[in-house]
Amino acid sequence: MIRQFLLVAALALPVAGEGGGTLRLCLRSEPRSLHPLEAAEESSETVRYLTAGVLVRINRQTQRAEPELARSWKITDGGRRITFQLREGIQFSDGSPFGAQDVVYTFAELASDELRSPAADAFRTAPGRVSAKALSEASVTILLPAPVAGLERLFDAVAILPRAGRSLDRSVLGPFRISQHQPGSFILLERNPHYWKKDSSGRKLPYLDAVRLDIQQNREIEMLRFRRGEIHMINKLDPELFERLAAEEPGSAFNAGPSMEPEQMWFNQANGSPLPEYKRAWFGSRNFRNAISHSIRRQDLARIAFLGRAAAAAGPVSEANQYWFNRQLKPRQHDPKLAKRLLVSDGFRWQGSKLVDRGGHPVQFSIITNSGNKTRAKMAALIQQDLGEIGIDVRITPLDFPSLIERISRTFQYDACLLGLVNVDLDPNGQMNVWLSSSGNHQWNPNQKSPATAWEAEIDHLMRSQAATLDPERRKKHFDKVQRIVWEQEPFLYLVYKNALAAAAPSLRNFKPVAMFPQGFWNADQIVVSSTVAQSRR
């Protein structure tokens, strides 16, 4: 037994005196921001996860909140106040000490209107500001304007910054820090020499010497590089590539089961968008959105685009999230007759086989999606044909990721968008930044001063209420209602939930993919690249 244990330990850890190697993987786009509080899309989140330290970390395997920079915490005042006892002796990567003042500074930044941090939305359960106060060098209390349920989990998304005057790049508390950044090419992260964590044998973490994130939009090339041994991991694998890898190198393909990440489509309803009035009227109509939804064959999307490695989606919560999923909701069925009735009730009619609105405008719109994603391109083509059957002319426009983000978040020059969403927590509070109408991630109509519609006002109210109550049943009831409203109104047309598919080289040790972001490297500080296996593979 002891011999077996030693063998496992020897396989899992680098030999004493040796480094853990350089882990290489790809980002699908250039991070939009390297400021850890501004991270809003996957590439930025990846860099944040690998470099930032947080007070509390949600263990991606157990789904439980675990102490990180905070040794312990206590929630008081009915959920309005949380007091953290910080670990002592921790240093930032530049050697400067970490203390309560850094937490106070972080929360001052988080509350800043200039920054508009997506992480801040989860704390905005009521009007008012979040404030932090240092009680001592190792103790800090955070006061919220209203109670927040599951409060401690929100701190997983709040990267602790060094107090004013120190470099954000060089002073981090996570396992790695940015060493080199060639925009559009790669980001090299080096081991944080002052990282505080140690393994069970007392050895300093992380094992890895460095992480190299190559920016590579094309997934075929990413796969080619994986097969050549140039990268060690593909965190999210397309179903087609997964099938191919599973057939050729079964030991390198991993299926972690249904993920929490939906593929969804939405119409542009932004107040400041330059859309013509008649298109605004279409996209703002619930009947129109429901008709589009009923015209899409979700089962075909899952079967053809995802080769069966996905399931039709009903709403914003995956069935895999067993507690929070509203089981009364079912994915909308393909029903072109119902779709036509809904369109007729809104004044649409057919001229020949083409659908026109009451003003005679042909119903034609474009769907933008990120280029280089073959699965999404297939989804778009399937949707194009489905909608063509009811006389809608859909144009598909793949765009490079920065251009797409520019259009959906700044210029609002688009009709509809097909994209995926990254859920970082099972708890509904993790989705506050999507559902609050004031949020920048409220994609169909972001940054509203006051809710544009009655149902958005109701969602705002319900999301704040669920966050403010500590009674789990009431929270569930409120969030079920949010899901019901979203299902009825369909600001997002949820299409499928894909499986979490990943690829890992045999040279990786401690690779334990999970369904939640960041699937493959949630335990990056414990991953090891074995040089012997890497060489033999080549």
Partner: protein, 268 residues
Amino acid sequence: MSLAQRIAWLLIAVIVTAAALASWIVPASYDRQFRDEIQAPPSKAHPLGTDELGRDRLSRLLHGTQVSLLLAPAAAFLATLLAALAGTLAGWRGGWLDHALESVCDLTMSLPWMFLLLTVRAALPLDVAPMTSVAITFFLLGALGWAGPARVVRAGARALRDSDYMLMARAQGYRGWRLPVWHLLPGLRPVLTAQFWTSVPLFILAEANLSLLGLGVVEPMPSWGGLLKEMESLPAIGRNPWILAPAVVLLMTLASLYVLMGAKEEEA
């Protein structure tokens, strides 16, 4: 007419006729998805099988041939025309005009065209019709692809400018624009022809890559470039060798045209 030329004519005739009669040869539309027959092998209903969305590969190949066979040579013609104008002028006149045109060529070739193309994409409406998008793409390729060929043409023009037959033309009293147009340009025809045929496959492949920027041939319209992208995966070719069909047709077309153009040169 040699045997090679006869075969070349036959192949071109077959390919052009098949492309022109695409809708008659394959009743299935190029965008119709047979969703219960995805990635189907060749059969009577689908002689080249179906793609990953269940679309008939033969129909897509023939319709893609229409698009690429018309527009890639048009773009190559535009690039060659611009190259002929700039290269001949620079090589013939020499002096400051030569320096200026050479600098423009250098500048054109060193500019980051990716950013220009991104700007063009940003300026275009998103709901541009697929055929318009295709036409814009090939126009851009033609308008941007002249600089390299222009340098080759310029070198040829400089060499011919001082040749004996140009001296003879001058001695016979030819002056002004007649010299380059009647005597120099015909001498540059082999160079221009070579540049034209080199550009055609380059533009076909460039079109496929431009789809990454949201330009190029967009779904559901097929093109050779788009069809060739299916060959990115070697294992897929091993399993479904019929996906090589677009590459075979492209090679046959280019080889045939090369043989025929070579014959014309010999006749000239």
